[in-house]
Every structure is written in structure tokens, then in C-alpha cells.
Symmetry: C2
Subunit: 434 residues, 2 copies
């Protein structure tokens, strides 16, 4: 397990209940010193949350090593420790709890250092952070999940598998989506130890595997003197390798990302035979193959028609559509450094598919990737119009997963807070849909 760099951790910021009553809120704190220390060296933490909460340093309760104590309890403790590797849980009594959404949490933490002259003691740490309360609401309409794709750049540098899954569970998600070639160590042949750990973590964090991303790399051998195209047989073998691995890891959906042959993402013609050769296996494994409809491909497009045609032609229940909500993006992604509107692909401005179009293909949609790029501290999404999108999904009777795909700026740890904001946003909207 790893901790977030900020002292105030996003993961773990939640209301707390006693029976039916919400009695306060809590958050996790990383030790600011370079060492862990005895709990009796803590001189408390004052907490301010916007203009809602302002409590002095002796009010919050501390949970360390599974024990919850008052400040006086810490002072009297013997042997209890705030370990460097463990976040302390700070609980603030606040009847009714905090409202859903993003809060500015400020702390003044006091620690006694025996090796610092008394005149400079206690050591005081003052930090503030915008943090999103663990989202609630939205139950009964959709299911909520997170793709580990959201953590691109963070996964493997600031997040290990357990830390990532803990962050997913902490948004209240029940489903986790992965990329086989990214999140399965030693893909396509994970060790028994890795597989055991995967299932241990799913159980620990109460997560269900949802969709498994795979690739049919049609350009696998397109460079060099021995270049040659991929055959449908090879495409099928690739897909079937991933179907088996996905099933083995508990997944119900496999999204093959198929090589393209045109600027508007028309898939390589081998896709049809690759899929059709694999339908029996998908049936046997009870896994649904679902290529994604991804910007710049809109819902009304020959590629989608071809997918639907395959379903009708074969009558299969093991092939369906995955909708990436990036197709509904109706405002541009900000230009990156050195980027111009003219030189970057036009679809980054948003192709603005009408959410109402969803109804036309809803009967074939088996999974939704909730793509997004930037949500500010007022829960304002800068690119995706969630209210009409979610209303259209609900109107069309979609009750499956909304699986977060954060695709914004890749600053370390940013993804964790962005995913929390998205879940807070989509759940609060869902509660107020018609």
C-alpha cells in the first residue's frame, strides 16, 4: 500500500454513522515527519471545513492501529504508534455529517519533537486541500465502477494494485475494469501468486470484475523486411487468449480494441471473422465481447451498423456494444503545450453526439465507459454534459455499469480526486433524473 503525497488523503474522506445516525466525518492523514512516532507525541489536530466546521485541536478522535482514542487518550497511551506507513484516521463529530461533494479541508496538526528546542515546539503543520466526500446516492438506477485506465501514469509509479483497488472501492464503486495488457503483471501469463492476490484484493475491497480491455494488434508485424498483415486466424487467437484470461480473472465483458484502416476508425476487415470464430468460446465462457464506440465514431455510423448486423445475423448473446461517453463531449479539451486547434485531431473539440441517439442502439449496449477529462471543485464537468447523457441512459432502460475512465491531465495523484468528483457528480445527478 502507498499513501497519497498530500498529508490529507482523498481516499477515506467520508461521513460516519452510528446505527441510522450520521454523527460526523473522517479523513486519513499521512505522517508529515520523516519517521513514525508514539501516539503520545501527538498534540492534536484542529480541523476547518469550509464555513461548516471549525473545531479546535482537542476535539477530533484518532484511530491508530485499530484503536480509536481522544487526544487525552493518546497522551496516556503506551506503545500505540502512528506508523510512517499508515495513515491516521481523524474523526470529527458533526451531527448529520457533511453534504455530498467537494470540500476545502484545512488542518493544523501539532506534533512534539523531543529533539527540537522547546521554543520551537510543538511542530505545527498547516495544509488545506479540496477533497471529495465518498459519494453516496444514485443507487438502483445504474451500477458504478472504475476502470484502472483512469490511473494511467499513476499506476506503477504512485499506485500499486492494492492502493488502486482501495481507491476504487472508496468511491463506493462495486465494479472494477482493467486492461489485460496493463494491469495483469506478466500478461498474458500471470503467476499463481498474482492471481491469488487479485482475488484476495477483490474480496477485501468488495469489488466485482466488470470489463477487461484487450487489443487485436493488426499491425503486430507491419514493420521491417518481414512485414505482413495479421490474418483473421491470428486475430481470433488473440481475442480467444484474452477471453480465457478475462474469464479466469472473473470478468464478464471483454472489449477488444481492433486495429483500424481509416481516419474515422473503420476496423480492419479481419475483425468480423476474428469475432465470429470466437463466439462459441465466448458462449462457453459466458463472456460478452463488446467493441467500444469511441469518439470520433458516433452512434449512427456504418461501423456500429456492422456490429449490430453481426448480432442480428448470428443471434449471439455474447457480442454487444460498449459506449464510451466521450462521444457526447460537447466542449473542447483545452489545448496542450504547443498544441493548436489546427494541428490536433478535430474530434478533441468534441463530436457532440446527441444523447438521445443512445435509444436507437440501447438494446445492444452491454457496458458504458464513463469517459471524462476535467471536473472542477464545484463538480462542473468541462467537457461531458452528464445530465442529458444520464437521462438518455435511464430513459433507454440502461441499468448496467458506468465505469469511470478519467482521461485528463496526467499529474501524479490527480486521477484519484477526479474519479471521486465524477462519482459524486453522476450520483447526485442520477438521484434527480426524471
Amino acid at each position: 500500500m502507498l499513501l497519497e503525497r498530500d498529508l490529507i488523503q482523498s481516499v477515506g474522506f467520508r461521513n460516519v454513522r452510528e446505527g441510522d445516525r450520521v454523527t460526523g466525518f473522517q479523513f486519513r492523514l499521512r505522517m508529515p515527519s520523516y519517521r513514525g512516532m508514539a501516539a503520545s507525541l501527538i498534540d492534536g489536530v484542529a480541523v476547518l471545513v469550509g464555513d461548516l466546521v471549525d473545531v479546535p485541536a482537542d476535539v477530533p478522535l484518532w484511530t491508530l492501529g485499530g484503536q480509536t482514542l481522544t487526544l487525552d487518550g493518546l497522551w496516556q497511551s503506551e506503545g500505540l504508534r502512528w506508523q510512517l506507513e499508515d495513515a491516521a484516521v481523524v474523526t470529527v463529530p458533526f451531527e448529520g455529517g457533511l453534504p455530498q461533494g467537494v470540500h476545502e479541508v484545512s488542518i493544523e496538526l501539532r506534533l512534539r519533537m523531543s529533539y527540537v528546542p522547546e521554543e520551537h515546539q510543538p511542530s505545527v503543520y498547516r495544509v488545506s486541500k479540496h477533497v471529495t466526500l465518498t459519494p453516496e446516492g444514485g443507487a438502483g438506477t445504474f451500477q458504478y465502477g472504475v476502470s484502472l485506465y483512469s490511473f494511467m501514469g499513476d499506476f506503477g509509479t504512485v499506485l500499486d494494485l492494492e492502493t488502486a483497488l482501495a481507491a476504487v472501492a472508496d468511491v463506493g464503486a462495486t465494479g472494477v475494469e482493467i486492461l489485460g495488457e496493463g494491469h495483469v503483471a506478466n500478461y498474458p501469463e500471470p503467476s499463481t501468486a498474482w492471481r491469488d492476490e487479485w482475488f484476495r484484493l477483490l474480496e477485501k475491497y468488495s469489488l466485482q470484475p466488470t470489463n477487461y480491455g484487450s487489443w487485436i494488434d493488426t499491425r503486430l508485424h507491419s514493420s521491417g523486411p518481414h512485414a505482413r498483415p495479421m490474418t483473421a486466424e491470428e486475430g481470433a487467437a488473440t481475442l480467444q487468449r484474452d477471453l480465457r484470461l478475462a474469464k479466469d480473472l472473473g470478468f464478464r465483458f471483454v472489449r477488444p480494441k481492433i486495429g483500424v484502416v481509416s481516419g474515422d476508425l473503420v476496423p480492419d476487415p479481419i475483425w468480423t471473422e476474428s469475432v465470429e470464430r470466437s463466439l462459441d468460446l465466448a458462449h462457453e465462457l459466458d463472456v460478452i465481447i463488446c467493441p467500444e464506440i469511441h469518439s470520433p465514431t458516433p452512434i449512427h455510423h456504418p461501423v456500429v451498423d456492422d456490429y449490430i448486423d453481426l448480432i442480428r445475423r448470428t443471434g449471439t448473446k455474447h457480442f454487444g456494444l460498449l459506449i464510451d461517453t466521450g462521444i457526447f463531449q460537447d466542449r473542447p479539451i483545452p489545448l496542450g503545450p504547443g498544441e493548436t486547434r489546427e494541428t490536433r485531431p478535430a474530434f478533441l473539440d468534441g463530436i457532440g453526439v446527441d444523447p438521445a441517439d443512445f435509444a436507437d442502439v440501447a438494446e445492444y449496449v452491454v457496458f458504458v465507459q464513463a469517459k471524462f477529462h476535467d471536473i472542477d471543485e464545484n463538480l462542473d464537468d468541462k467537457q461531458i454534459p452528464w445530465r442529458p447523457v444520464l437521462q438518455a441512459l435511464k430513459n433507454a432502460g440502461y441499468t448496467g455499469y458506468l465505469s469511470s475512465e478519467y482521461e485528463g491531465v496526467r499529474e501524479p495523484w490527480r486521477s484519484i480526486e477526479q474519479v471521486r468528483r465524477q462519482h459524486s457528480l453522476i450520483r447526485s445527478i442520477t438521484d434527480t433524473l426524471d
Copy 2:
């Protein structure tokens, strides 16, 4: 294991040898995509190193999964993969290798994405980074080590234990120093699994445990209605707990950081009895207790005289001095945000102890912490005058460890490169001492 955020990893940048010849250099690359991929999808990497090296994309060799191949070899490979979790090793033939020090390494990496329209292919990644070659030289004069204190803030957020130890070993260090209350999980009672892992990693990375930092927290119960001072008996019990744990983990030195009673860091008077009660145990365990001489305490100071007096009085071989090179700092640490020269402790400007003073206490010095704050890409240390310091250590016959303590700006991953720079600097100076 975790990877550094930059695509070009600092850890692993080194010259390579075939027998007695240096035939080139190599570095590790993190996969820039959000997925791992088949090796045949790599279209090579062009490498530029300052004005020394400029090779096109088909020249470097690639090591993936233990196999080293040419670009053509990658294209013909089947089943070989660049896993998301593994850095690729790029080897550039360059007779004689690179000179020691910091180099600006630039790459242009090309990868084929089957799902991106041909007109935007291959995907090209251009990055540059100042990286320090794994230091060589300096052998036979001192021993070289690193304290995990150097990684404060990084340890537990971007470095796990193995990644940290790998970074230590990669500077060519043979010794590792830790803080018991920081780097031993569940201190003071690590699990058997943790202890087994500790020894496995020491062996894997060929590292010797050197010094173990501990604390005698004299203010352990100095807050609240039941406040009371620490007794010498409690101080001794604390020290002895750490002596036993240090020995159990293979350490030869224990630095107790003792609570202070004055602005110039005079230790609490219980230190004498706490130490004297522990000398028999230190003898039995063959561990040397060594309080540190740390800025603002200079070498010629009553505190140091008292330590030496204890050695003379008891005749012990298990108590000595640890010198922190921060006492030789002769230029100021830059002001932090909101900090002024007037409000911060004056010693941050440097107390500038004359390195020649070292000779006066050398017979009692058992360990040196090589404290530093900032070394630029020209290997210019902005605070510590290494040449006179190292010359004084050599003149006085010190042949023990120089154990890096980076104490500069705590930006994620900065410590890794700073420690490399320090070792490069002190080893190159050591080779040219009188």
C-alpha cells in the same frame, strides 16, 4: 517495484562492459502508453546524449524479459513483450562509454498503435532528462552508503522498500542506513514476513546494513494532565529496544537521537545513564551507539566533550561519534516560501565548521552521514564544501562510510537523482585527493 515518473529512469543509467572493455551505455525506459505491448510494435528509439552521442532509432539494442535484441530482432519476435510494469533496457554501443557525471539524455521513441489511423503513426515520444551515470571511482578510501532518510516524502508514496533499495544499490553503494521508526513496517515489531523480505532484498542488491537511526523521546509524556518527564530507566529501555531490533536486522551502528533541553541542542541529562546502562548490551550485541554531531552543534562543543568523556571514563568500544556533514555547510539553504532570514533558525545559513577540526575527534568517529541539500547538473554542491571535507576525513585516517543524507527540496523523485549526483561528486573528488 515502482518506476520513476519520467520515461527515462535515473536508476539503471550506466556504462556497460564486455570483459575489460567499456563498450557502451544503457538506461531504462518506462512504457509511455497506458498499456504494455508486444515487442514487435516497437519502431526503435533514437538517442542523443549532449554532443557526445547521436544514434538513429535502429541502433540501440533492447532488453525485454531478459532477452537482448536488435530492432530487427524485435520485429521478428513472437510473444516477447514490453510489460507496463517493467522498464525496457536500452543499450547504446559507444566504445569507451560515457564520462562520469550528469548527462542530458534525449530520446525519440516510436511505437505502433494499431488502433490509431495510419496518418498519425508511428506514435512518437520525445523527452529529455538530466541523468547521472552510475558513479564509479573512489574505491579504497571510504565506503559509500545511502540513508533511506534521503527519500523522505518519497518513501511510502513513490518508493516502496525494494524500489528504494534498488536505487541505493544502483549508485554503487554497498551500505544502507535506515530509521527504525520509519522504514521498519510495524516498528518495533516487524512481522516475520517483513524481516525475511528485508534480508532477501539485502542479498538481492548486495547491500550491508550500516547505521540504524533511533530516538529517545524524552518528551514522550510531556503533554496533558498526566505529564511527566522520562526517567533514565525508560530512556535505557528505549535505547535497548532499538539496539536489539537493529542487531536483529543486521546493523552495526545505532544512532539514538536524544531529546534536548536547550536551544543549542544540549541533550537531556538522562542521556548519560540511559547510555551507560546500555553499554553491556551493546557489547554483547557488538553494536556501537553513536549520537550524531549535528548542526548547530559544532565539533568543539561541551556536548561533544561529554560524549568523549563517557568513552574515556568507561573505556567502551561501543560508543562513538557520528558526524553529520551538515556542520561543514558554509553557504545558506535557500529561503523557503514565506521564510525570512530573520525568522528561521540561523544555523540554516550554515555554521561553517572548519573541516580541519575533524582531526581533533577523529579517533572517536565511527560513522559519517553525508548530509547535503542541492547539487546542480554540473555537480556543484550549493552548501557543502566537499573537497576540504573529504580531504580532512582522509587526512584524519577515516575509512568508514559516507552515508548520503539528502535533505533538500522534497519534490517527488528528486531525491533519487540528487543522491546519484552526490555519489558522483564525492567519488570523483576522492579520486583526486592528496
